[in-house]
Symmetry: C2
Subunit: 324 residues, 2 copies
């Protein structure tokens, strides 16, 4: 894993990716007590940054291998990213999703032409299912995060942040990233280490699924005891991968963790102040910036708002927090 | 009014304006039966395109005149645009708003430092109030639409559309614009007549406030009999202005009109497919593209999503239309 792989991914992504805006609002700055910049990856194709890694991985395959089709397992955002990348490459995609994934994510993945297979995330092992189907049908497994090409694709967010922050006159800030398995966090950390080395990347997780924060403290990969009963479905992973953790251990600051309620409150603020739609797992970094300012240092903070694939009833509930 | 004024406004706006993205989704294309591109001005500072006209007008004043402060009347988006432009220029702003404007718009305008004066839009004449206060306090009136500098500022949306559409390979499309008094519509029409002359701009209004559509048919300025009881508060104006109508008459295609219910449905689709927040008056152009495809011609349509300043309960109600 190195910056050249991220730059190469950026070149392959250039004709298809959306360069998402870096948004801000004086009202958010006031709450946070410092300038807050929000990298709105919810506006990316498929509604999350995962399109970047999906495209980077699918486009990196040898043509003959790619023609055999791909398979992926995902709670929904990686699913859609790989499904759209496969559809645009004209190849088959099988996507293994938890049966309790948000309805929107399941139906979108199907609408992007993928063959969706549902499993039970409490009783079944998605890795095992994925490996077996890949072997049986000759499909290439596109892993969600612990995979160099996925990390390279997600790292292109970091290249854009470096450029956009420089345009805003920011060279020195903490960059808070919503973190599941660490693909995005490690990719951004690699990109910024090269392009904006005075930035410090910090992962942010749901409070009861804070394995990366604990791993960064202990220096070894910690595993969540159970899959947390959190609303932040996009980032509920048992643990980081060996590749992503190694990068985060070398490059990242300490982890942050927020409650589901604060994630919902951050969604409501993003609605009111930025006019963007965030899903709970895509709002935890903004929640940390707004509601844990004492955990953050510096005059400016950059948060990555990773996705917006949320069911309408959950979103409507988040808006009720504005009455708190 | 000419293209040079729009180019000059673009130069003054360049350091402060947000270049809003042109969004799309294959799901919206499928509904509309053609490619749909959405210029997301809800992501502009203050949550609507009105910041452009406000800045263009305030920045165009002679310094001595500007120092005396400005006054504006508005249901809320022009209010916020002028208030923020005045605040950033370090001058006083008095804003006259209808007492039934959305709470969010009133509180934001106050938060941008403006002195907000409320009036009753059914019984009082806002123009008269504005003129009297401007004269009494030595403030300069910043008109919302029938004013060359406002048109020039809004026209910068058209410059961006021309560039972004060219990047997408579109040179020939209808451009549907949410229309109140016609400042944005006429500004975009002027910009595109110069930069992308094979585009055709068409205003879109709420069904019971379709004075511009009727005016374009009759060739003279028609007036709405009453202020419509519509949820599209941002674009409920009695009639176009003489300056804006003259431009629209010369350059625009026929007008479109949509129901409040379709505006709400378009908001829900923008939530689900684009991850942006639209207010009802900012969603009518998208509603026409999605639900009146037979009224539109060509392989691609560009809609301007003009604003996102909507109260949470109205937005939550719009999401219920997804169950229709």
């Amino acid at each position: 894993m190195n910056i050249e792989m991220i730059m190469a991914a950026a070149t392959r992504l250039a004709p298809v990716v959306r360069r998402t805006p870096l948004l801000s609002s004086p009202f958010l700055d006031e709450i946070a007590g410092r300038r807050v910049f929000v990298k709105a990856e919810c506006l990316q194709h498929t509604g999350s940054f995962k399109f970047r890694g999906g495209w980077a991985a699918v486009s990196a395959l040898e043509e003959a291998q790619r023609a055999g089709g791909v398979i992926a397992f995902s709670s929904g955002n990686h699913a859609q990213g790989v499904a759209l990348a496969a559809q645009r490459h004209g190849i088959e995609a099988v996507i293994i999703m938890p049966h309790d994934a948000p309805e929107l994510k399941i139906s979108n993945t199907r609408a992007f032409g993928a063959d969706v297979v549902l499993y039970d995330r409490l009783t079944e092992d998605r890795d095992k299912i994925g490996d077996e189907m890949a072997a049986a049908r000759g499909l290439t497994l596109i892993k969600p995060f612990n995979e160099p090409q996925a990390i390279a694709g997600q790292g292109t967010v970091g290249l854009e942040i470096a450029e956009q922050a420089a345009f805003e006159g920011i060279t020195n800030a903490e960059v808070i990233v919503c973190c599941g398995g660490g693909g995005l966090t490690s990719g951004i950390a690699l990109a910024l280490a090269d392009k904006a080395p005075s930035m410090r990347v910090r992962p942010c997780e749901p409070m009861e699924s804070d394995d990366v924060a604990r791993s960064l403290r202990s220096g070894m990969i910690e595993v969540n005891a159970t899959v947390a009963n959190s609303i932040c479905d996009a980032i509920l992973t048992p643990s980081a991968g060996d590749i992503t953790f190694e990068i985060m251990k070398n490059l990242c600051g300490s982890g942050l963790a927020v409650s589901d309620h604060d994630a919902m409150r951050a969604m409501a603020h993003a609605f009111r102040r930025l006019k963007i739609v965030l899903e709970p797992g895509g709002a935890v970094a903004l929640a940390a910036a707004l509601f844990q300012p004492e955990e953050i240092s510096g005059d400016a903070v950059i948060v990555v708002a990773t996705g917006g694939n949320v069911d309408p009833n959950v979103f409507a509930r988040s808006l009720e927090t504005l009455n708190d």
